[in-house]
């Protein structure tokens, strides 16, 4: 049995924890092994596995929040892979929350996928990957130590790679998958180094041991650990400058974007920082760094969201921006706030993606908003879904996003970061602008699907390359073979999950009502280290007012530019002008891809060429070659001694013997 200090004192138990964890894996294996036999049933089987896992998670509520031995939660010891290095599952309020989202929202998206992926050639493979992803994500959040977390961390990256490149016939999808994988592995390496540092100094990978030692580690070391962990978090959660893979990841099927690249996987960085709250709370430098990068990401993501034309890319940048909020929240120490935003975001962003998926599905895989328009009449249900999502993400009072975003923004002020507070408020305004821009372009006016693309300023009507810096103008098409399949699955399969999601999207935020005394904060009362809070001069209510004003301002600009009757009437001309006149810095996405290309890729290439053309042939091969020639030269030299005359050898032998005798006679015998 393992020592309880490994797991922060958790002694409670939940017998079904392992079942809950392994069910998705079983589903993945079944779908993978029996895909051809299962056919359409694979979707139901996979959804059933996740549903069962979700039911077990709900049933674990009491266990996950039980108080035993002074700590909340349940723990399941699995095995020990080295003396003192145990592996187990830990279900405490934090991992319980994530598990609920992963299995709950995961189930809805699985269910939705039955309709969305209907008729795809690799239907079963898709669900095998999806189930595998859920298993990997559960491994990540349920692990009770850093090593297990890293395993889950790597596996979700792998699942993400599989699913982004799901339509591997498309060159862009493969490139996007590769890009996501490479950047994520860079993050994995960061976490690995953090684990090295922790093991070298704490001699354990268990969370409990590392956190207990956080007070005794030097601040420089702690900062190094936090930075290394944050490199992993930034890569996974698309924080600047490691965010470039996320928009490209929209090459995957839309449910994948909803589950992996909006609701769950990309929030793993938030989970990591919230989990390692004792480390961050002990080091204010790390807090400042992470909070700043989070705020910056929120702002940059929002700005870039304003200039996108691909509906999924707009949502991707908004995801990046919202995760920036979360990272900012957990970074500055407002853990409840950051986690709350993760919670509400999982619902409304999943809903936005699924709503967008309905549109894409019904428009034969059209993703460019310029070729939409007027959809309010054709798809009222999608409009409702996206409208509620937009209202929630913008922070309309009463909707869930309002409460959680408020907690983050005000948390930054409470923890003494007025600049981040300002950035948060500004970003909220920009968010309102680009989300309502999306809404108006898509649903207002007349349908523009029959307009010539060049009249809309679409430069590359077929595909945008991931490597193409003009990716902002891109609009990926899903493969033709599933573009016009004869029959659609019943519409309710896709509508029902979206309908269910609307409820939490609208209402769930009330859990956070009441600020620091809300039920939400009560739930996490013992999960995070408490910090002395400043009493800001501005009240939370006033902050909400300011945010609301900016949101209304953003809405107003969007309305003025895209929403008015006059704008809708001249939509084609306006959209073309906007496309053509967009500043280069925005179409090139602040040149971040180009910078990465210059700094990392070109440097590596130069280094590779240096080693490949100079070091390898001259030094490595040269050493081997010269060693061989040297041996040969030596052989030629010695060859002359090998006369083949036995007596000559005997003479040399005798000379040697004489030398021996002389040595003993002179040096030893005397």
């Amino acid at each position: 049995m393992m020592a309880t200090h490994h797991v922060m004192g958790v002694t409670g138990a939940y017998p079904m924890l392992v079942t809950l964890w392994l069910l998705p894996l079983a589903g993945a294996v079944l779908c993978w092994a029996f895909g051809p036999q299962l056919r359409g049933l694979a979707g139901w089987l996979a959804s059933g596995a996740i549903a069962a896992s979700f039911v077990l998670t709900v049933a674990s509520w009491a266990s996950g929040t039980q108080s035993a031995g002074g700590a909340l939660g349940a723990h399941q010891y699995l095995f020990s892979w080295m003396p003192g290095f145990d592996f187990g599952l830990l279900l405490d309020p934090l991992s319980l929350l994530w598990t609920l989202i992963i299995t709950g929202v995961g189930f809805l998206i699985h269910f939705y996928s039955i309709g969305y992926m209907h008729g795809d050639r690799a239907f079963a493979r898709f669900f095998a990957y999806m189930n595998f992803f859920v298993f990997a994500m559960l491994t990540l959040v349920l692990s009770d130590n850093f090593a297990g977390l890293l395993v889950g961390w790597g596996l979700v990256g792998l699942a993400s790679y599989f699913l982004i490149g799901f339509w591997f016939e498309r060159r862009t999808a493969v490139a996007a998958a590769r890009k996501a994988f490479v950047i994520n592995v860079a993050g994995d390496v960061g976490i690995m180094f953090a684990i090295f540092l922790i093991v070298a100094n704490v001699h354990s990978t268990a969370f409990g041991d590392a956190f207990a030692a956080s007070g005794t580690l030097s601040s420089g070391l702690l900062f190094a650990i936090c930075v290394a962990l944050f490199i992993g978090a930034a890569a996974k959660s698309a924080q600047i400058p490691l965010h470039t893979w996320l928009p490209d990841a929209m090459e995957g099927p839309t449910p994948v974007s909803a589950l992996i690249h909006a609701a769950t996987m990309v929030t793993a960085g938030v989970y990591l920082i919230a989990r390692c709250a004792p480390l961050w709370s002990a080091n204010s430098d790390a807090q400042l760094l992470v909070g700043t990068i989070g705020g910056l990401t929120a702002l940059v993501g929002a700005i870039l969201g304003c200039v996108q034309w691909d509906i999924k890319r707009i949502l991707a940048y908004s995801t990046m921006s919202q995760i920036g909020y979360m990272i900012m929240g957990v970074g500055v120490g407002a853990y409840e706030g950051g986690v709350a935003h993760f919670f509400t975001h999982a619902f409304f962003k999943a809903q936005l993606f699924l709503g967008a998926g309905i549109i894409i599905h019904n428009l034969a895989n059209e993703q460019d908003v310029r070729r939409m328009g007027g959809l309010i009449k054709r798809m009222p249900f999608a409009f409702v879904a996206i409208l509620t999502g937009v209202l929630s993400i913008c922070g309309t009072p009463g909707f869930s996003g309002f409460f959680s975003k408020d907690r983050v923004i005000y948390g930054a002020l409470q923890h003494g970061h007025p600049w981040l507070y300002a950035v948060g408020i500004l970003t909220a305004g920009i968010t309102a602008y680009y989300m309502f821009r999306l809404l108006f372009i898509t649903f207002w006016g007349e349908y523009r699907g029959s307009v010539d693309p060049s009249d809309l300023g679409i430069r590359h009507p077929e595909l945008s390359g991931v490597v193409d810096p003009d990716a902002g103008a891109g609009h990926a098409k899903e493969p033709a073979d599933r573009a016009h399949h004869a029959e659609h699955a019943p519409a309710w399969i896709m509508s029902v999950p979206v309908g269910i999601l609307i409820v939490p999207t609208v209402l769930i935020g009330w859990l956070m009502f009441g600020g620091d005394t809300s039920p939400w904060n009560g739930f996490f009362a013992s999960s995070f280290p408490s910090a002395a809070l400043a009493t800001p001069a501005i009240s939370e209510l006033a902050t909400s007012g300011v945010v609301l004003l900016l949101v209304i301002g953003g809405f107003g600009i969007a309305w003025w530019r895209y929403g008015t009757r006059e704008a809708a009437a001249n939509a084609v001309e306006r959209l073309r002008n906007e496309s053509v006149r967009m500043p280069a810095i925005l179409t090139h996405l602040f040149y971040i891809d180009a910078a990465i290309d210059l700094i990392c890729v070109r440097t590596s290439q130069l280094l590779g060429q240096f080693f490949g053309r100079l070091v390898d042939p001259l030094v490595v091969d040269g050493t081997v070659r010269e060693a061989a020639f040297g041996a040969r030269w030596l052989g030629v030299l010695v060859q002359s001694l090998e006369t083949g005359l036995v007596r000559a050898y005997a003479l040399v032998l005798a000379l040697g013997a004489a030398c021996f005798i002389a040595y003993y006679a002179l040096a030893v015998a005397r």
Partner: protein, 198 residues
């Protein structure tokens, strides 16, 4: 004392005869004389078993082997034909090296001052008496107790030597002894492969 000098004279003289004799068989005779004198010397040094072994193994077995080989080779077409000396310049340095090494050794021996005396109460007695140092019983006991492992290893070495001799000199020896032989074997193998048609 006198016996030692007589034996020493016989040993040196027979040794010189061994290496200077014109015919190999004379060398064998000289060497036989040398070994006999050596056996007597061993007796004077309380090594009775070694004296017997010297006669039986060296004179009886090894020298007989030499004689047989001489007989075998002499029956050939050109027995022991000696060609031109390819190393004429080696004579002077060889003699020089020998003399110098011997000089060093003599220098060391004559300058030695250490006296090696038998330990007090050592069981030295008349050669041939049972139980004294160097008797067969004494020797055998030591050989089969303290030095058993080297003894057994020696047996292994002899076995290896027997197998080696059979391989080297046997009638159907599968070895490759000389370049000519190697070429022949190679040619035969090549022809065999060609016959097989592969």
């Amino acid at each position: 004392m006198t016996l030692f000098w007589v034996l020493a004279a016989i040993l040196i003289a027979s040794a010189i005869w061994t290496i200077t004799a014109n015919k190999a068989v004379y060398s064998v005779v000289a060497l036989l004389l040398n070994f006999a004198a050596l056996a007597v010397t061993y007796l004077t040094l309380s090594a009775e078993f070694m004296a017997v072994i010297q006669i039986i193994v060296y004179s009886g077995a090894i020298l007989m082997l030499f004689v047989f080989v001489i007989a075998l080779l002499s029956s050939g077409v050109a027995p022991l034909s000696v060609g031109p000396n390819r190393l004429p310049k080696a004579v002077a340095p060889a003699i020089f090296i020998v003399l110098v090494a011997f000089g060093f050794l003599a220098y060391a021996v004559l300058g030695a001052t250490a006296v090696v005396a038998p330990a007090a109460g050592a069981n030295l007695g008349t050669v041939g008496t049972a139980g004294v140092f160097g008797s067969v019983a004494d020797f055998g006991k030591a050989l089969f107790t303290v030095h058993l492992l080297p003894f057994e290893i020696t047996a292994l070495i002899l076995m290896v030597a027997v197998i080696g001799v059979v391989l080297l000199a046997g009638d159907q020896a599968p070895y490759v002894a000389t370049r000519r032989h190697a070429e022949r074997v190679e040619r035969e193998m090549r022809e065999a492969i060609l016959r097989e048609g592969r």
